[in-house]
């Protein structure tokens, strides 16, 4: 396989604060994720999961190490590119614990906003949005306001939004936490399907016992360090 890894991280460190108050949240993280792969990121509270996700998402500055996304070095003891905002917009999809949809935009425009921000014409962006909503089986709610949707529907719209610019990487922070087990497995099925369909690498941070068996590969994080492990890879039906 000659395809470049979607995520390649070496010796990534993150320290919060200075001097006595400093906290080493990440103490040299190594991680490789291939396109189309869905990996779990598991660890106790305070182990550094969210911190790692923020570093991968170019939201906070790592302190040291290297990071390449889709074969492109973006951090090597310092950011190699200036416009992190555009990087996030074009390369990374975010899915949060809560859907965090924009309440004043309807479902379609919540999804279409990303391609629009990337400069695509409205009609084209909405067409992409509708395709994604259809793929996620919420197209019948396309013109609804986010507040009129159920929790599961909102989360599917949020996933559609994360996919809207067809990013090579999707970062999901406890995406199934507020959902019951049927809905949680639903979301995992969708994420797996989207990873396959769009060749996206997906990292799912979770505590959720219901979905952990679905991962083929899992990174355990403990005390700021990652340990790789094979998962059950149980198929979802």
């Amino acid at each position: 396989m000659t395809e470049k890894p979607a995520i390649e991280v070496r010796g990534l460190r993150k320290r919060y604060g200075e001097g006595d108050a400093a906290v080493e949240a990440l103490k040299g993280v190594d991680m490789t994720v291939q396109p189309g792969e869905v990996v779990g990121l598991i660890g106790p509270s305070g182990s550094g999961k969210s911190t790692l996700l923020k570093c991968l998402g170019a939201v906070i500055d790592p302190t040291a190490g290297q990071m390449a996304l889709a074969g492109r070095t973006i951090f090597d003891e310092g950011w190699t590119i200036r416009d992190l905002r555009a990087l996030r917009r074009d390369m990374i999809g975010f899915v949060f614990q809560a859907p965090y949809l924009i309440p004043f935009l309807d479902v379609t425009d919540n999804v279409a906003l990303l391609p629009m921000l990337a400069g695509r014409p409205n009609a084209e962006a909405r067409k992409t949005a509708l395709e994604l909503l259809t793929a996620l089986d919420v197209q019948h709610r396309a013109l609804a306001q986010p507040s009129q949707l159920s929790g599961g529907e909102q989360q599917r719209v949020a996933i559609a939004r994360a996919l809207a610019n067809h990013p090579p990487i999707i970062l999901a922070d406890e995406p199934t936490a507020p959902l019951d087990s049927v809905r949680a497995l639903d979301v995992m099925r969708i994420l797996n399907r989207m990873a396959a369909q769009y060749r996206a690498a997906i990292i799912v941070v979770t505590h959720d016992e219901k979905i952990i068996p679905t991962f083929k590969r899992i990174y355990h994080i403990r005390d700021g360090k990652t340990y790789e492990e094979a998962g059950e890879g149980r198929p979802i039906d």
Binding site: S50, L53, K54, G57, V59, I60, R85, A86, R88, R89, D90, F94, F96, Q97, Y100, I102, P103, F104, L105, D109, A112, L113, L114, M116, L117, A118, G119, N122, Q145, R161, D173
Partner: protein
């Protein structure tokens, strides 16, 4: 790209519109203040132009007849008539008083004038000009009188035979025109009791009632009761003459003050500007501060209510300029709503004001610019707060 500002406002429009209405009424009050001031200036100009005079001759060392009291002998106009360049010169009197108008008392400025001479109301909206020498009146419509009404001034009843409009004193009181003789009597004649007691006092004065000089007492008393004063002489020039050419000899030779139209405007308008413009200036400052406070408060709370959404927007790659633009547009939108409501409100309630309200388009325009500047400044606080939002907070801990 869709307009985030508009979408956000449409989503929570009631708060936005209510704020806009409140702001609008405030702006409306200011437009009215400005309108009253403009109306006063315009009234002043109308007063001067409608009097039909080119020169006002008044008592020496006074700013009469509108800004200060002035008294001139009623025969000086003859001397003025003889000066080169003078086409017409006529006596006028001005007396502000309260008259009863059927149901209520109104303050009016009673103008005494000679029919066909400067000082006559230039146009009528109803009825006719005064034709008889006595006891007829032409009233400004704002007095509330109608043709056929009678009005009592001092001892006499006057029949209202005509109506005019936009004839008000510099204080905004509507005018009531009556024949000069009657007006002089109303202004300078004493009532019967006063005349009797005056006569007794004159008769008791040995230097005026000398036994050896028959007829002296009668002559003195006649001169006391006959009125010989007016407030001003209005002069109209012959074509081709400059006002100053004629005014200058009047000042020099007649021991009187003579003002040209330009000088009268200066006296009347500058005086008005001195007090009213300070007043309107204060209002503007207060309004600017209050509306800035309202706009910045409402935009700020609207922004604080969107912190989480802003964090998400930033996380997914929305530019800071887009977010700042969204808040700025909302602020300007609020100002625009306020302006439209304010301007409309001022126009709608203008006719119910007791004073003439002149709403000038150029005032509206500068008001709009000012409101926009204030709203832009008011949004800065909210923009600062929005730009400080950390996109990392969207991911959480």
């Amino acid at each position: 790209m869709i307009n985030l500002a508009v979408r956000d406002v449409l989503h929570s429009w009631s708060k936005f519109v209510l704020t806009g209405v409140g702001l609008g009424l405030l702006i409306g009050v200011t437009f009215s203040m400005a309108g009253i001031y403009r109306g006063m200036v315009d009234d002043g100009k109308a007063l001067l132009r409608n009097s039909g005079a080119d020169i006002w001759v008044v008592q020496k060392d006074t700013l009469g007849p509108y800004a200060e009291p002035s008294s001139v002998r009623d025969d000086v106009y003859r001397g003025i008539l003889g000066l080169p360049g003078v086409m017409a010169a006529a006596n006028v009197t001005y007396l502000t008083m309260q008259v009863n108008q059927g149901v209520k008392d109104v303050r009016v400025m009673v103008v005494g004038f000679e029919p066909g001479q400067p000082g006559e109301p230039p146009y009528l909206v109803a009825g006719r000009q005064i034709t008889r020498g006595h006891y007829e009146a032409v009233a400004d419509v704002r007095t509330g009188f109608a043709v056929g009404d009678t009005v009592r001034i001092r001892r006499h009843e006057y029949a209202v035979v005509g109506l005019t409009r936009r004839m008000v004193s510099s204080g905004g009181d509507p005018m009531l025109f009556i024949p000069l003789r009657d007006a002089q009597e109303a202004q300078f004649l004493k009532d019967n009791d006063a005349i009797v007691s005056e006569r007794e006092r004159t008769a008791a004065n040995p230097s005026l009632n000398r036994p050896g000089v028959p007829g002296l007492l009668e002559a003195v008393q006649a001169s006391q009761t006959a009125s010989r004063s007016v407030n001003a002489v209005l002069v109209r020039l012959q074509p081709g003459w400059e006002a100053e050419q004629v005014a200058e000899p009047i000042r020099r030779w007649k021991h009187l003050q003579a003002y040209t139209l330009a000088q009268m405007e200066e006296i009347l308008i500058a005086k008005l500007i001195a007090t009213s413009s300070k007043q309107i200036g204060m209002f503007l400052v207060i309004l600017a501060v209050v509306s800035a406070a309202i706009v910045s408060f409402i935009i700020y709370t609207m922004t604080l209510g969107k912190i989480r959404e802003l964090a998400v927007l930033k996380l997914i790659g929305t530019r800071n300029s887009t977010i700042a633009g969204m808040i700025l547009q909302q602020s300007l939108g609020l100002g625009l709503i306020g302006f439209l409501i304010g301007r409309t409100a001022a126009t709608l309630w203008a006719p119910f004001f007791p004073k003439y309200l002149l709403l000038l388009p150029e005032d509206a325009l500068s008001g709009l610019v000012l409101i926009m500047v204030i709203c832009a400044l008011a949004s800065l606080l909210a923009i600062r707060a929005a730009l400080k939002v950390d996109p990392a907070t969207a991911i959480g801990g």
